[in-house]
């Protein structure tokens, strides 16, 4: 996955992501594609979750999956999560859960609960950084005020790092793939450098849905695992999602 939050010159925040899923889940030799990724695309839906006929939050989701990976509380915050791989992974959390140690939260239920119940950027940030979890993860959170955006790097037990926007220091966007931002990505899976190169080339003056979509359409940020691209602007309560394809030549991840 690739997620980013960027702030334009007027202080407006944009949050976008490519959702990549299906690595090693069956390679279709004939069509040069991942089987599960192909089958996930028709299941992508945008959902308006309502209570008393009023929107509580918006999400881009997969039918049958009750948790959330991409969502927005209009006017309040936006949230995406990226997978964080670790030896101390979710299978250990599941094992603990089965054995009766149930103090941790399931990742996608936590994100859903935050989207449903948190009422501010700060509350969402606290919940995502402090709740014990069954699996490690990256949470990419955007608010509705200048400077409100961060990448929360989580292990199962604790928050390892919060990487925030810092306009004064020239950090007008944060971009997260599937590696700790303070370490080099795996050399065969470097989507961070091409993504950042395109963001830097775009410049803060020109950031918009259109230019962010351009960044997320550039290979290898766009790859064979990319299921959908979602674009969110919290101040406009605007969420757009598009199914993606990566024609050959295109890296499988």
């Amino acid at each position: 996955c690739t997620s980013l939050v960027a702030e334009d010159k007027s202080g407006k925040l944009y949050h976008a992501r490519n959702l990549d899923f299906g690595l090693f889940l069956g390679w279709d030799v004939k069509n040069n594609s991942w089987m599960v990724t192909e089958l996930l695309r028709p299941l992508v839906v945008n959902v308006n979750f309502q209570r008393n006929n009023k929107t509580v939050f918006l999400s881009t989701s997969f039918v049958g999956y009750v948790g959330m990976l991409t969502g927005m509380k209009p006017g309040v915050f936006t949230l995406t999560m990226n997978e964080r791989f670790s030896i101390d992974g979710g299978y250990l959390g599941i094992l603990e859960w089965i054995l009766g140690k149930r103090s941790g939260a399931w990742m996608s239920f936590l994100t859903r609960s935050v989207l449903e119940n948190a009422t501010s950027y700060d509350e969402a940030k606290t919940l995502l950084s402090k709740t014990k979890m069954l699996a490690p993860a990256y949470f990419i959170l955007g608010g509705n005020k200048s400077g409100e955006a961060c990448v929360i790097t989580r292990s199962r037990e604790s928050c390892l790092d919060i990487w925030e926007l810092d306009i004064k220091q020239g950090r007008w966007y944060v971009l997260e793939t599937n590696y700790d931002h303070w370490k080099e990505p795996l050399f065969i899976d470097n989507r961070r450098a091409p993504g950042m190169k395109c963001m830097n080339k775009t410049t803060q003056e020109n950031i918009s849905f259109a230019t962010i979509y351009d960044v997320l359409s550039t290979k290898p940020v766009l790859n064979k695992l990319t299921t959908y691209t979602a674009l969110m602007a919290v101040s406009d309560a605007k969420l757009e999602a598009y199914l993606r394809d990566c024609p050959d030549p295109c890296i499988p991840w």
């Binding site: 889940l25 308006n48 948790g67 149930r102 239920f109 351009d214 290898p220 890296i251």
Partner: protein, 121 residues
């Protein structure tokens, strides 16, 4: 770049989406949180039952290719549903509703919903 990872020059003019990298738009649905959790996803499942069944079947086929005995699917179908009572209440009920509406075994719906935890290694 003609070799993997086929890095391109930064794209421009791709929005509004069209062309070879665009597969289609994403439909909108409403989910009413005032409804009982069991009922919330009925409309969506009814519209996408065939696609959801195809995905779950594909995952089962992959599992069978790794464990040809079918033991893994047996565990998913017979033992995973035992977890349902331990999951946060409304999500467990929603999964039961999805299983009922789609006709898929509850264990397979649970597996789909905990895929993230399974795949983070």
């Amino acid at each position: 770049q003609d070799v993997p990872p086929y890095t391109e020059d930064c794209r421009s003019g791709t929005y509004p989406p069209s062309g070879q990298t665009f597969r289609g738009t994403v439909p909108w649905y409403k989910v009413n949180l005032d409804q009982a959790p069991h009922e919330r996803w009925q409309q969506l499942i009814s519209d996408k039952k065939i696609q959801l069944t195809a995905l779950i079947q594909s995952i089962k086929n992959l599992a069978k290719s790794i464990f040809p005995s079918g033991k893994l699917i047996e565990i998913v179908d017979n033992d995973l549903p035992l977890l349902i009572g331990t999951l946060p209440a409304q999500y467990g009920e929603e999964m039961k509703g999805i299983a009922d509406a789609s006709g898929l075994p509850l264990g397979e719906v649970i597996l789909f919903n905990i895929f993230y935890e399974v795949f983070t290694v």
